[in-house]
C-alpha cells in the first residue's frame, strides 16, 4: 500500500541527530510497548508481516505522533482487536478507568484469529524450483502501486536494476500479511543506479534492495 510508512526518497523530514547517550528505551512505557508488540503477534494468531502491515494501517498521525514504540503499541492493539482477543475500545476504556474515570468496560467479543497453512516457523523456506532470474540479469518491477501489504517500495517501482545476488527463498509478505497462504518465493538482491532512481543529477551511489520473485520482470 502507498502509505506514510513508504518513506524512501520523500522530502521534508529534516536532518538526523545522533544522541550518543541514547538508552535502549528512553522511558518505561517504551520497553513495555516493545514487549507487548513482540508478544501481540502470537497472542493474536498473526505473524510478523501482519504486524508490519498493521503499522502501515495506522492513521499517519497515529503512525508518527508517539514514535516507533508508540506505533508498536497501537499496532499490538489493532491486531488484538482484529483477532477478537480484545473488544474495540477496551484499551481506551481501561486507560480512562486507570486514571479514575467512570466509563463502561466493553463487552468481550468472539475470537476470530486468522487461520492459514504454515510451512514452518520463521520466514525462510526450501523451494524445489530454480530461480527465474540470473545474477547479472536486468530486471524491472511494475510501476503500479497495489493496495494491501507489499515490500516493494514506491521509489524503485518501474525502474531498471540488475540482479546481484540470490538470497534464501522466503514466504511472500504480500500473502502472509493477509493470511491467504505463504506463497514462498525466490528472493534476489537488485542493484539500482542512483541516476535511474533520482535522475541525472543524483549523487553517485547504488541502492541495493531485496525483491521477491513475483515483483520482478525481465528487462534485458
Amino acid at each position: 500500500m502507498d502509505g506514510i510508512h513508504d518513506m524512501g526518497g520523500k522530502h521534508g523530514w529534516g536532518s538526523v541527530t545522533i544522541d550518543p547517550d541514547e538508552p535502549v528505551f528512553r522511558t518505561r512505557w517504551q520497553g513495555r510497548a516493545f514487549a507487548l508488540g513482540a508478544m501481540s503477534m502470537g497472542l493474536s494468531g498473526t505473524n510478523l508481516d501482519a504486524f508490519r502491515h498493521g503499522l502501515e494501517r495506522l492513521h499517519p498521525t497515529e503512525y508518527l505522533n508517539d514514535g516507533y514504540y508508540g506505533r508498536w503499541m497501537k499496532c499490538a492493539e489493532l491486531l488484538l482487536v482484529d483477532s477478537g482477543v480484545l473488544p474495540p475500545g477496551a484499551v481506551e476504556a481501561r486507560a480512562r478507568q486507570l486514571r479514575g474515570e467512570d466509563v463502561p468496560t466493553p463487552e468481550p467479543v468472539t475470537e476470530k484469529k486468522p487461520s492459514y497453512e504454515r510451512g514452518g516457523s520463521g520466514s525462510l523456506r526450501e523451494l524445489d524450483s530454480e530461480p527465474a532470474f540470473a545474477v547479472g540479469q536486468q530486471v524491472t518491477t511494475s510501476s503500479i502501486g497495489k493496495s494491501g501489504h507489499t515490500r516493494l517500495p514506491s521509489y524503485v517501482r518501474g525502474r531498471r536494476g540488475v540482479v546481484i545476488a540470490h538470497r534464501p527463498p522466503a514466504v511472500l509478505p504480500d500473502a502472509t500479511a493477509h493470511f491467504t497462504g505463504e506463497d514462498p518465493q525466490h528472493v534476489y538482491t537488485v542493484e539500482y543506479e542512483s541516476t535511474e532512481l533520482w535522475g541525472p543529477d543524483a549523487e553517485p551511489a547504488t541502492v541495493r534492495i531485496d525483491h521477491f520473485e513475483s515483483y520482478m520482470e525481465d528487462a534485458s
Partner: protein
C-alpha cells in the same frame, strides 16, 4: 496540528500501554515477568557489543573474516548470536574503495542479534527517507565525509535478509588484542554511518 479527530482528553500513550498490559495480564495471556524478561534481554544481553565481538574477531582472524562474508548467519551464530531479526545475516565489508550503509525505508528492519534494537536516528523518517536518495549528503551531515571516488552502496532491508557492515580496521591498531579492538567498534560503524577510529 492534526487532521485526525480524536477526543482532546484521549489517554496518553503511556497510560494506554499500561492499560493494554493490565488487560492482557488479567486475561492470563501475559505476565509482567515475561515482559520484564524480554525487555531485559534487549537492555542487557543483545546489543552492539555482540556485533563488536564479531568485527574484532574478523579483524584478527582472516579465516573467520572470510567465513563471515561467505555465510554471515553461521559465522555470527558460531559466537552465540542468533534470534529474532537474524534469520539470514549478510555481512558487507567496507574498504578504502567501497562504503556500505544500511537502511530500512519501509519500517526499521535491523540485525537485532548483532546490534540489538535500532537507535532513534535509524528509525527517524529523515534517515529512512534520505539515505536512499542523498546518502553522501546525509552521511556528511552525520559526520562522515567520503571522497568522491568512493563507491557508496546503500542497502535497503526490504525482505528478511539483515545487513551488517564490517567496518575497516583503523590504522595504528596492529598491536591491539581482539578484546581491545572490540571496545573500539561502534554501533554506528556497523550500520555504516561512521568509521571506527583508533584510540
Amino acid at each position: 496540528m492534526t487532521e485526525k479527530t480524536e477526543p482532546a482528553d484521549m489517554p496518553s500513550i503511556e497510560l494506554r500501554t499500561e492499560a493494554l498490559e493490565s488487560l492482557l495480564v488479567e486475561a492470563g495471556l501475559v505476565t509482567p515477568e515475561a515482559l520484564d524478561g524480554l525487555i531485559n534481554r534487549y537492555v542487557a544481553d543483545v546489543g552492539p557489543m555482540n556485533g563488536a565481538k564479531v568485527v574484532a574477531k574478523a579483524w584478527t582472524d582472516d579465516a573467520y573474516r572470510r567465513q563471515l562474508l561467505d555465510d554471515g548467519t553461521a559465522a555470527v551464530g558460531e559466537l552465540g548470536f542468533a534470534g529474532p531479526q537474524g534469520e539470514h545475516i549478510v555481512v558487507v565489508e567496507n574498504t578504502p574503495e567501497i562504503h556500505n550503509v544500511v537502511v530500512c525505508t519501509l519500517c526499521s528492519c535491523y540485525p537485532w542479534p548483532v546490534l540489538g534494537l535500532p537507535p532513534d536516528w535509524y528509525k527517524d523518517p529523515a534517515y529512512r527517507s534520505r539515505m536512499v536518495r542523498e546518502p553522501r549528503t546525509l552521511l556528511s551531515e552525520m559526520g562522515l565525509d567520503l571522497d568522491d571516488d568512493v563507491d557508496v552502496r546503500v542497502w535497503d532491508s526490504s525482505a528478511e535478509n539483515r545487513y551488517f557492515v564490517l567496518p575497516e580496521r583503523p590504522e595504528g591498531t596492529e598491536s591491539m588484542s581482539e578484546e581491545e579492538l572490540a571496545e573500539l567498534v561502534t554501533r554506528d560503524a556497523m550500520v555504516g554511518v561512521a568509521k571506527v577510529t583508533a584510540p
